[in-house]
């Protein structure tokens, strides 16, 4: 997938931008506060109709304007799609090839990008829930059964939690049955993607660090994923769950952990290690997505090079050059290694490309 054209009107600090693009690596550079992240946020919005920084649309609209417009030509599997997005305080309106798109979910399931960003690194590192949603997002995108199971599960879990605060628990067995049914689908598919990623992670991490290294993604489901066993577990849990007033076990409590050998878990990773391991996961997901979806997602790497030593910077750059994705990198200080590589440089100054 390649964004071939991108234009933004009154989006963040961009008054009017038209940018022809092609496949390959783009290095977006400039001083702080000039609009590097705003630009990749625009690319991200073009794919997902959402920002990775805010859920409040009004923050995306340039100061003093009432609407912003994003427009792009996206090529996927040799077909050009012309997308137009209008953002106002009231919401988003989308046109694809000049036709209005009534169901935004049909648009969102069309294009994909992979994002690395310091905020989501921090969240991934510190919050188990963020790690679950990280994998949920990818799985929901590549597998519609997963999306359906996850949505249904959320409804069931909300209903169950409300029920556990009530007197009459007679319908609890029915809710538990649905809880386990959907839960098993979720656990099975989370296991599958974990195994798939683990086949790729050591190779990619060794590539990035330049030394043979083990890295494992560990998935610890809070139930077993076996319908009968889990049904019995929940039956035995009813009294404790009633006292707690919420569901104690289930996919909403599952854990994803990263470990390096000798049992060194994520809590003991250095800043740089955290960064490089999440990058490895992202690059592994890129392979998974490409295989499963049949096209390469756009890769957005925001503030990529900070905290990485020069060896990793160099190896990472070499690895990225080996990929056929369209890649956008933002950085204040391009590392020396990039100076000799074939990259397009976009110098940003005050919402303009100079």
């Amino acid at each position: 997938m390649v964004i071939k054209e991108f234009s933004a009107i009154k989006f963040r600090n961009y008054q009017e931008l038209f940018l022809p693009l092609s496949a390959g690596i783009y290095l977006i550079t400039g001083d702080n506060g000039q609009g590097k992240t705003n630009l990749v946020e625009g690319f991200y919005f073009l794919c997902h109709l959402a920002s990775f920084r805010t859920s409040r649309l009004e923050q995306l609209i340039a100061f003093g304007a009432s609407q912003s417009f994003l427009q792009g030509v996206v090529n996927k599997n040799d077909t050009d799609w012309k997308a137009r997005i209008e953002i106002s305080r009231r919401g988003r309106r989308v046109w694809l090839d000049e036709e209005p798109v009534p169901k935004l979910s049909s648009y969102i399931s069309r294009f994909h990008s992979l994002l690395f960003n310091p905020d989501n690194l921090y969240n991934y590192r510190n919050f188990p829930g963020e790690r679950r949603s990280f994998y949920d997002r990818v799985l929901s995108f590549i597998d519609s059964d997963y999306l359906e199971a996850l949505r249904s599960f959320k409804t069931i879990n909300n209903q169950k939690n409300k029920l556990l605060k009530k007197e009459d628990l007679s319908s609890l067995p029915a809710w538990n049955r649905l809880f386990v049914e959907k839960g098993c689908v979720i656990i099975k598919k989370r296991r599958e993607i974990t195994a798939d990623l683990n086949n790729r992670l050591p190779r990619i991490l060794s590539n990035l660090t330049g030394k043979a290294q083990q890295l494992a993604l560990e998935y610890h489901p809070s139930l077993t994923g076996d319908l009968e066993t889990d049904s019995r577990t929940l039956e035995n849990l009813i009294e404790r769950e009633r006292q707690a007033g919420h569901a104690l076990q289930g996919p909403h409590r599952d854990e994803f952990l990263m470990t390096m050998p000798a049992g060194r878990g994520e809590a003991f990773f250095s800043q740089g290690e955290s960064r490089v391991t999440l990058l490895a996961v992202l690059l592994a997901l890129n392979e998974v997505l490409t295989e499963r979806m049949g096209y390469r997602p756009a890769v957005i790497l925001d503030d990529l090079y900070s905290e990485l030593d020069s060896t990793v910077q160099e190896n990472l750059t070499r690895h990225l050059h080996g990929l056929a994705n369209q890649i956008f990198i933002t950085t204040t200080h391009p590392p020396p290694v990039l100076k000799h590589q074939a990259v397009e440089i976009l110098q940003i100054q005050d919402g303009r490309i100079v």
Binding site: D145, T155, D168, S170, S171, P173
Partner: protein, 198 residues
């Protein structure tokens, strides 16, 4: 809006109806005003009567004018099969297809703790009583395929187990006349899971 008070009131009342916005309400109100007086009176009395004369059927909780609804009162219906639905209007959807010849039982809702609705608020005790007093061999659960509808169906199948010979659930899958190409993945998946021998 600067309209006489009685007209304003009618517009407000009409706009409370489902699917009727401010503009449609205005159009309806003006049409009623332009039409002749007997027509308007007849509409008003029809609206008034509906609340006075329609009640729930004593047996199945569908809509009835007397004690029993037209379906329960019809001697040609097969009393050995009961189809359980969420709301009275579901009956008319099934009746339109003319595929079902048994009787109905309306739950008047679905189990949904988030909306404060538990099994006690539904007509489940009444259904149990019917299974004991009437000769019923099959119960068809036709609640919606939403999570609430599923939970209700599961709950019923658990509490009514052994009280009736067979309990069945409506099949889910491809709509007739649909094109495979345009079927969403979830429906397709259920159609595959629920496939039947040719």
């Amino acid at each position: 809006m600067n309209v006489p008070a009685p007209l304003e009131r009618l517009i407000t009342e009409l706009s409370r109806l489902p699917g009727v916005g401010q503009k449609t309400a205005q159009r309806l109100a003006f049409a009623i005003l332009r039409g002749d007086a007997p027509r308007a009176k007849s509409l008003a009395s029809a609206i008034g009567e509906i609340k006075d004369r329609i009640r729930f059927c004593k047996r199945c909780f569908g809509y009835a004018e007397g004690e029993h609804c037209p379906v329960c009162a019809d001697p040609r219906r097969d009393p050995s099969v009961i189809c359980v639905v969420e709301q009275p209007n579901d009956i008319y959807v099934i009746e339109r297809s003319a595929v079902f010849h048994g009787l109905y039982h309306v739950l008047l809702g679905v189990i949904s703790p988030l909306d404060g609705i538990g099994p006690d608020q539904l007509k489940i005790a009444e259904l149990t009583a019917r299974l004991e007093s009437e000769k019923v061999t099959e119960l068809i659960l036709a609640t919606n395929p939403s999570m609430q509808g599923e939970a209700t169906a599961l709950h019923l199948s658990k509490v009514l187990e052994g009280k009736v010979e067979s309990i069945t659930r409506l099949a889910r899958g491809l709509p007739v006349g649909a094109n495979l190409e345009f079927t969403d993945d979830v429906t397709l998946n259920q159609a595959f899971t629920g496939r039947q021998r040719f």
